[in-house]
C-alpha cells in the first residue's frame, strides 16, 4: 500500500480476515446482514463453516459471539458503527465485557463520512459508548495500513476489542514499515507551538492543517491516537508539557470521545488550553466531503482551532 493511495479501511479488514482464517482455524466471523458492506463476505466465501450471518440481529450476534469465545473460538463480529454498540450495548456489557471474553467487534461506516444515508446511519456516539466499557480495547485506525495491523493484533491478543472503521476510500498515511502498538500514540509531525491529537480520517486532515500552518511559520505536532482505550496518557501529558496547548480532532461527538479522554488526562496531570474539532449534534445526507466541510471537520477547521488555542496560550 503506497502512501497517498486511496483505500477503504473495510477493504483491508476483509482481506486480513481471510489471511487470519487461513492461519488459524479458531477464527470465526459473524455478521448481521451487512457482509457486502463490512467486507466479511470474503471470509464467508472462503470459510463457509466458520461464517455465521445471523440476519438483522445485532443483539443475538453479540451473544453468539460471546458463547463462541467462551468455548475457545476467536470471533470477529461486524456490523455498522451505529448498530454496535448502539443496538447491543447491554449484550456487549453483560455477555462480553463483564466476563472479559475474547470477542472482536469490528464496525464499519463510523462517523459522518458515511454520507448520503444520513444521520440514522452516521455513528457519532459509538466511541463514547465503547470507551464507557471497562476493559474494552478501543481502536480507531487512521488508514488501511493501521487497520490491517490493528485487526491482526486483535486476533493475536486475548481480550475484547472494538475497532471502528470508516466507509470511504481514504489516503494511506503509513508506509509498510509502520508497526501499530496497542495503547501507544504515534507522533507523525513534531512541532513547538501546539499539539493536534487526531483519530481516524481526521489524522490526515491534521497533517494537511500542519502543512498549512507551517506556511505561516507555525510549527505544530500531529499525534495519532489510534488506541482510545487504554489511552496513552504518557504521550498526551508529554505533548501538553512540550507545546503548552492542544487541539483534538475526531469524527465523533465532542462528548465522550478523544477530546474528552485527552481533557481528562490533561486536567489530571498538566492542564493546558484545549480546543475541540468534533461534532455537536446530528448531521444529514450529503457527499462525505460536503458533510465534513458543513460540520467543521476539515484541515481548515483544525488550522483555525490551532490558531485559536495558541492565542489562548499566549493570553
Amino acid at each position: 500500500m503506497a502512501i497517498g493511495t486511496e483505500i477503504a479501511q473495510r477493504d483491508a479488514y476483509g482481506q486480513v480476515l481471510v489471511e487470519l482464517g487461513k492461519a488459524n482455524k479458531n477464527i470465526v466471523v459473524l455478521d448481521a446482514d451487512l457482509s457486502h458492506s463490512t467486507m466479511t463476505q470474503f471470509f464467508g466465501k472462503e470459510f463457509p463453516d466458520r461464517f455465521f450471518n445471523v440476519g438483522i440481529q445485532e443483539a443475538n450476534m453479540v451473544g453468539i459471539a460471546a458463547g463462541l469465545a467462551a468455548t475457545g473460538k476467536i470471533p470477529f463480529a461486524s456490523t455498522f458503527a451505529v448498530f454496535a454498540p448502539g443496538r447491543c450495548f447491554d449484550q456487549i456489557r453483560m455477555s462480553v465485557i463483564q466476563p472479559n471474553l475474547n470477542v472482536k467487534i469490528v464496525v464499519t461506516h463510523g462517523g459522518i463520512s458515511v454520507g448520503e444515508d444520513g444521520s440514522s446511519h452516521q455513528a457519532i456516539e459509538d466511541i463514547s459508548l465503547a470507551c464507557s466499557l471497562p476493559g474494552l480495547n478501543v481502536i480507531v485506525p487512521a488508514d488501511a495500513v493501521e487497520t490491517a495491523q490493528a485487526v491482526r493484533l486483535a486476533a493475536a491478543t486475548e481480550g475484547p476489542f472494538y475497532i471502528r472503521l470508516g466507509r470511504p476510500k481514504i489516503p494511506v498515511i503509513y508506509d509498510d514499515k509502520y508497526q501499530f502498538q496497542l495503547g501507544k500514540a504515534v507522533t507523525l509531525r513534531q512541532g513547538a507551538a501546539a499539539t493536534v491529537f487526531a483519530v481516524g480520517i481526521m489524522v490526515n486532515a491534521a497533517l494537511q492543517a500542519a502543512d498549512e500552518l507551517s506556511k505561516e511559520g507555525v510549527s505544530c505536532s500531529v499525534v495519532n491516537v489510534p488506541t482510545l482505550q487504554p489511552l496513552d496518557e504518557v504521550a498526551i501529558v508529554k505533548a501538553a508539557r512540550d507545546t503548552g496547548c492542544i487541539v483534538c480532532a475526531e469524527e465523533h461527538l465532542v462528548h465522550g470521545g478523544l477530546g474528552s479522554l485527552v481533557a481528562q488526562a490533561v486536567a489530571r496531570h498538566q492542564p493546558v488550553p484545549m480546543e475541540f474539532v468534533a461534532m455537536t449534534g446530528y448531521a444529514q445526507s450529503g457527499k462525505p466531503a460536503e458533510l465534513l466541510a458543513r460540520y467543521g471537520l476539515t484541515a481548515r477547521d483544525i488550522a483555525a482551532a490551532v490558531r485559536k488555542v495558541i492565542a489562548r496560550k499566549a493570553a
Partner: protein, 271 residues
C-alpha cells in the same frame, strides 16, 4: 450420582433448604423462581448432565447455562450438592467479597458457565457455545434454563430463529413455566400463549412435561437430547415458590426474602 427417585427427591429437598437458608441469611434474593427451578437443576446435575465436578473446564462436558440469572441460588445449591463448591460457602450469598453474587458471575464461581442477570441473553450465548462444540466435534449438549417471563425479551426469539436456521441440534432449552413474573402473572403482564406453538413456529421441537416430577423430567430431557436435526425446547410446567405453601403461586415472593419466622415455617414445610 443419585439414581433412584427417592435419592433424587432427597437431593431436591436439600437444594430447597439451601435456597431458603441462603436467601433468608442474605435478607434479599429471589426465592420464587429458585424454588420453581429446584427440581429442574436436580434432574440435570444428578441425572442428565455429563460433567466432572473436579474438572469444571473439561472440554467434553455438557454445559448448563442459567439464563434466568436471578435463580442463582438454585444453581449454587446444585453446584454445592454436586461438589463444585463447599456447602459452607452457600451462606455467604450476596455478602461482600463472596464468590456467590446476587446474580451469576462466571469469573467468580466454580462451575458457572455464564454471567447472567440481564434477561434474554443466555439463549444467544448458548447458540454460540453449541456452534463452537459442533465445530470442534465435541459430544457436548448445551442445556439452557430460561424463565417464562424472560421470553418477553426479543433477543430470545432472535436466538430461537438463529438456532433453527443453523440447525443447532446439540442445544436443549428448558423453560421454567411458572406463570409468574416480577409484577404479576405472565398472562396479565405479557401473554406468552400459545407458547408451544410459538417455539414450533420458530423451528424448534417442543416437549412439554411436569417440571416437578424429577424422573419424568429427566427422561424428557434425555429424549430431547437424543432428538436430531433441530433445536429442542422442554417446557417444564412448574409452580413458583414450589414446596412452601405461602410462597407458591405468590408473585410477592418473586424477589423477596423470607423473615426469620417465615424461614422457620418454610424449612418445616420442605422437610
Amino acid at each position: 450420582m443419585a439414581t433412584t427417585a427417592t435419592d433424587l427427591d432427597a437431593v431436591a429437598r436439600r437444594i430447597r433448604r439451601h435456597i431458603l437458608t441462603m436467601i433468608g441469611k442474605a435478607g434479599s434474593g429471589h426465592p420464587g423462581g429458585s424454588l420453581s427451578a429446584a427440581d429442574i437443576v436436580t434432574a440435570l446435575y444428578f441425572r442428565v448432565l455429563r460433567h466432572k465436578p473436579t474438572d469444571p473446564s473439561w472440554p467434553e462436558r455438557d454445559r448448563f447455562i442459567l439464563s434466568k440469572g436471578h435463580a442463582a441460588p438454585a444453581l449454587y445449591a446444585a453446584l454445592a450438592e454436586s461438589g463444585y463448591l463447599s456447602i459452607d460457602t452457600l451462606v455467604t450469598l450476596r455478602q461482600i467479597n463472596s464468590c456467590l453474587q446476587g446474580h451469576t458471575d462466571c469469573r467468580l464461581t466454580n462451575g458457572v458457565e455464564m454471567s447472567a442477570g440481564s434477561l434474554g441473553q443466555g439463549l444467544s450465548y448458548s447458540v454460540g457455545v453449541a456452534l463452537a462444540c459442533r465445530l470442534d466435534k465435541l459430544p457436548s449438549t448445551v442445556y439452557t434454563l430460561l424463565g417464562d417471563g424472560e421470553c418477553d425479551e426479543g433477543q430470545v426469539w432472535e436466538a430461537a430463529m438463529s438456532a433453527a436456521h443453523f440447525k443447532v441440534d446439540n442445544l436443549v432449552a428448558i423453560i421454567d413455566r411458572n406463570g409468574i413474573q416480577l409484577d404479576s402473572w405472565t398472562k396479565d403482564i405479557m401473554e406468552l400463549e400459545p407458547f408451544a406453538e410459538k417455539w414450533r413456529g420458530f423451528g424448534w421441537r417442543v416437549f412439554e412435561t411436569n417440571g416437578h416430577d424429577i424422573p419424568k423430567l429427566a427422561a424428557t430431557l434425555e429424549e430431547a437430547r437424543a432428538a436430531k436435526g433441530q433445536p429442542k425446547v422442554v417446557i417444564a410446567r412448574t409452580v413458583k415458590g414450589k414446596g412452601v405453601s405461602f410462597m407458591e403461586n405468590n408473585p410477592d415472593f418473586h424477589g423477596k426474602a423470607p423473615t426469620a419466622a417465615q424461614l422457620e415455617q418454610a424449612l418445616k414445610e420442605v422437610g
